[in-house]
């Protein structure tokens, strides 16, 4: 049953793909380290280039997945050194990472977090190898009704787990789905929401959407901090030795294993990604091993926990993406879109029909993970210097790459204007307290959700009963309802526990 992995290593170990995995690891660590540029931005900017360079699908995916996993490694650097999370997954890393750096332990903190990242990612990649083919076998039984129920479940878990404000998460997701409605309706050929503009007939293009939503809005957002002194280097604590002793690693071994597992499970849940995994792992680990109350003051386990979990979640979120075609996080939603550029629709048949894509990706995660450890231990100091790149260099670079990317795919100025409009829209949403991951998930899932609903009801001749008649879909509906009701119900039943629940949600 692991034929796909053997074939996958055949794909991943070709010189081109090895090189791309390395490039992805490098760039990913870099993007992760730069505050403000996370995995989504990195992938958004590089995706059109990978496509126009004519890379085959599996190679492009290896590069982009390398960026994703790499940025989970890189995100820790600014968390530890500057108390500014490099990306959303590394928020919890600041809690104990920065105090460690303050104590003069910046080097060991970087070393330990690299090792935790490696352990977490390894656990999750093994989990992915074992679990994905099994899930794919179950998923073959999914019909349109089951897929529809699954997407409802995905949105429910996203609303509960993601962000501070479930209402705004929900609104963001609905807005994303609405954007997906623009264009020709595939069922009837009717034009929806195009307002007579021929450019919108094909819908709002994926690349235009993500580059606008993430890269352009990030440029606008960075303007706010332009007035801050950019030479943060003088604040940066001395690195010391960027090595970690075996004793320190062994001290945290159970933490890493536990949190790797937690991260994997959270990552597999559709709709929730690295940031949620980091938070859940940190609060759990605090309960288990914080006996002397030193979490938050530079406890090594407090650093290892979120780092192990967020890397595990990144790998885990490939499970629903590859087997069900449902992204497990905002970043995998973008990767899903990248696959769609290649006319590959991930789903249960991916492992049998395109084993080189599924197997090659999974094999490259093993390879990339080892490369990342090798890069991040000795070279942490070099990457740390990236943090001092001023914004006036970063912003024009992002703008140039965004323009070239969109222009390459469309050779059309309308696409660039649309990208700028979406950028303003994204900026406004962020200023109003929305996070963008639900919007992109809604946008990617929206069309699929409608298609599956309509297909299901066509099969049943309009009888809505089909939506919950099978055991699988009924189970998913119940799970979705439970997710929405429990966080509201549990604190009422256990009033003493309510404060802790709130912390977890934050």
């Amino acid at each position: 049953m692991f034929d796909f992995l053997i074939d996958g290593f055949g794909v991943a170990l070709t010189p081109l793909n090895l090189g791309l995995a390395f490039l992805g690891a490098m760039l990913g660590t870099l993007f992760g380290a730069l505050p403000g540029i996370g995995p989504i931005n990195g992938i958004a900017i590089l995706m059109p280039l990978a496509y126009t360079l004519g890379l085959p699908a599996e190679s492009a995916l290896i590069l982009l997945a390398g960026i994703y996993t790499g940025s989970e490694y890189g995100g820790r650097m600014s968390s530890i050194l500057l108390n500014v999370p490099g990306d959303a997954g590394a928020v919890m890393t600041t809690l104990d990472g920065y105090p460690m750096a303050k104590k003069g332990l910046a080097g060991p903190a970087l070393g330990l977090s690299a090792v935790s990242s490696f352990v977490g990612a390894t656990i999750a990649i093994i989990g992915l190898t074992l679990f994905a083919p099994l899930l794919a076998r179950v998923a073959v039984m999914f019909g349109p009704a089951e897929f529809f129920a699954l997407m409802v479940f995905a949105f429910a878990s996203m609303a509960v787990m993601m962000g501070k404000d479930p209402i705004k998460t929900g609104i963001g997701a609905v807005l994303g789905v609405m954007i997906a409605m623009v264009g020709v309706d595939s069922g009837t050929g009717v034009l929806r929401y195009t307002f007579g503009m021929a450019e919108l007939y094909d819908g709002i293009d994926f690349v235009v959407m993500i580059i606008g939503l993430f890269a352009i809005s990030e440029i606008l957002l960075m303007l706010e901090h332009a007035n801050r002194p950019s030479n943060e280097s003088d604040e940066m604590p001395p690195l010391g030795r960027v090595m970690v002793s075996l004793k320190e690693v062994l001290h945290c071994k159970w933490t890493m294993l536990r949190c790797g597992l937690i991260g994997f499970i959270v990552g597999v849940l559709p709709g929730t990604g690295a940031s949620v995994a980091g938070a859940v792992a940190y609060t759990t680990e605090k309960r288990i091993s914080d006996k002397d109350g030193t979490f938050g003051t530079g406890n090594m386990r407090g650093l290892a926990a979120p780092e192990s979990a967020n890397n595990a979640a990144a790998a885990g979120s490939f499970v629903p993406m590859l087997t069900l075609g449902i992204p497990g996080s905002g970043t995998t939603a973008v990767l899903l879109g990248a696959l769609m550029l290649y006319n590959i629709t991930p789903g249960p048949l991916l492992f049998t029909e395109r084993p080189e894509v599924a197997g090659g990706l999974i094999a490259s995660l093993y390879v990339g993970n080892i490369m990342l450890l090798a890069l991040n231990l000795p070279l942490a100091g070099v990457f740390a210097r990236v943090l001092t790149i001023p914004r006036w260099v970063l912003v024009p670079a992002i703008a140039i790459l965004a323009f070239i990317g969109v222009y390459q795919l469309h050779s059309d100025l309308m696409a660039i204007y649309l990208m700028l409009i979406i950028g303003v829209f994204g900026y406004l949403l962020r200023k109003l307290g929305f996070s963008l991951a639900p919007v992109i998930l809604g946008y990617v899932l929206g069309g699929l959700m409608e298609d599956n609903l309509r297909r299901a009801l066509s099969i049943s001749g309009g009888d809505t009963g089909i939506l919950w008649q099978s055991g699988i879909s009924l189970g998913l509906w119940i799970a979705a309802a439970a997710l929405l009701i429990l966080p509201w119900l549990v604190p009422k039943l256990l009033p003493s526990n309510s404060t802790e629940k709130n912390k977890q949600g934050a």
Partner: protein, 149 residues
């Protein structure tokens, strides 16, 4: 008392939901072989959006900090630079437009003239050769150059 931003947003979104639903309801469908059709899903979406927005109106969250006047001017300036960059991108060619766009952006992000000029030259020329020569991607060279080549 300040009006909560979320409340205004809530009303605006309810307006959007209504607009979205009316647009869907007015779709003219010539022939349909399926029971659902293209109207139902958008209308359900509008209802969900309206309900969620209603919650926002009654239970607004905290106001974030919004840009002051100076920042708005800068935001518009950055957007202006990007729009002009797009307008002239194919007309004047990549190198020259990128040079001026980078120059304007670096100045807006408060670099000194010296640094801004160096960054503009390096980025415009460097990225042009990296992408055209290194990666084989074609970039607009501009109509005005065509006469010289």
């Amino acid at each position: 008392m300040k009006i909560a931003a979320d409340r205004v947003l809530g009303f605006a979104l309810i307006g959007l939901a209504a607009f979205f639903a009316v647009q869907a309801a007015n779709l003219h469908i010539p022939i349909s072989y399926e029971p659902v059709g293209p109207k139902a899903f958008p209308i359900v979406l509008s209802i969900v959006l309206a309900l969620l927005s209603l919650v926002l109106v009654f239970r607004p969250g905290e106001n974030g900090h919004f840009p002051d006047k100076a920042l708005i001017v800068k935001l518009l300036a950055v957007l202006g630079v990007l729009v002009i960059y797009a307008l002239l991108f194919t007309q004047l060619g990549f190198i020259i437009t990128t040079f001026f766009a980078v120059l304007a952006l670096t100045k807006l992000f408060e670099a000194t003239w010296r640094k801004a000029l160096i960054a503009s030259v390096v980025m415009a020329v460097g990225s042009y050769y990296l992408f055209t020569q290194g990666l084989g991607i074609s970039l607009p060279s501009g109509y005005w150059l065509a006469d010289f080549i």
